[in-house]
Symmetry: C2
Subunit: 160 residues, 2 copies
DNA sequence: TATTGTTATACTCTATAACTATA
DNA sequence: TATAGTTATAGAGTATAACAATA
């Protein structure tokens, strides 16, 4: 099913630059590794300076998943519980999250993001998108189509 | 110039899944950001446990650029000179790099990677490529072609 | 006098072990 | 007795300031 708004000839030009050997899993892996790590590293730089990667990761999880316990957050980030206690304490003091009581189990704590925390996440995403969008504007439509397709494929790969 | 080994109909199928709106810089940026950061994060996990990201970065720079001074390494990684002194000392003690004298300027120090250091870098790359290649094998040829094209585009973006 | 690198010191982040409260 | 979270303490990593050696 080929969209009429997207004739195949708009895609063909960029595909012509790639040689068959570059598509072999072994060869492609090396090229893709460099490209992904380098771009991601550059993009990760586009964030607020007064928050660490670990802290941002917690805020992002809370935005995506809703309120979570410290234990769940620790497991998600492959970090030990005491480290997460510290991270959460820092975020509480910064007013970005709040601690609350669990509905049924009084041992547990529920961490909830605040309005300021949501704003922080939104702002970081906005910065990174702006950095990326600025570069995407200089590409051809065919190149952007390729990246849109690649994004879908990469999401599947990362999830596997 | 379209390669005979790569007829365009092999590429068209994957492009049909992408809608025009997804190729607008603003929209694409958001999708691409998530896909890149998620995949890169997963891939970065595939490394030796007894070396940090900062240490690996130094080894990688030395493999790519040849011997460098601590000052050059510090600037490259956006780190302060004393921090690089510490990192280099750790790597020297681990036998992965060695300190040497500068040819003409006796204030400067030249850091050179050792055979063990090169092995460490090779091993990490091998792990990451293996992880990636395993996932690439399950893709269609058209999808791998898309990723090969995307890799080229991303390298340009990261360099800009 | 300026530059390169190191040492001294402090702060942050993370980990393990021990402790408190609750189930 | 087991579990969730915290506190206590120690080990890396990085930063600023002060210092040594050389240009």
């Amino acid at each position: 099913m080929v969209s009429l708004l997207f004739p195949t000839h708009a895609v063909a030009p960029s595909s012509s630059a790639v040689k068959p050997a570059q598509c072999r899993p072994g060869t492609l892996a090396g090229e893709l590794r460099v490209a992904l790590l380098r771009t991601a590293r550059r993009m990760r730089m586009e964030r607020s300076d007064d928050i660490t990667d670990g802290q941002y990761s917690v805020l992002h999880a809370l935005v995506t998943m809703g309120p979570l316990t410290p234990g769940a957050l620790a497991e998600r980030d492959h970090v030990q519980p005491p480290s997460m206690t510290r991270t959460v304490t820092t975020l509480v003091e910064a007013g970005l999250v709040s601690r609350g009581e669990h509905a049924t189990d009084r041992r547990q704590v529920v961490v909830t993001i605040t309005a300021a925390g949501e704003r922080e996440v939104r702002e970081t995403k906005r910065r990174r998108d702006a950095w990326l969008a600025r570069r995407l504007k200089d590409l051809t439509l065919a190149e952007r189509t390729t990246l849109a397709e690649a994004a879908e494929i990469l999401r599947r790969i990362a999830a596997a």
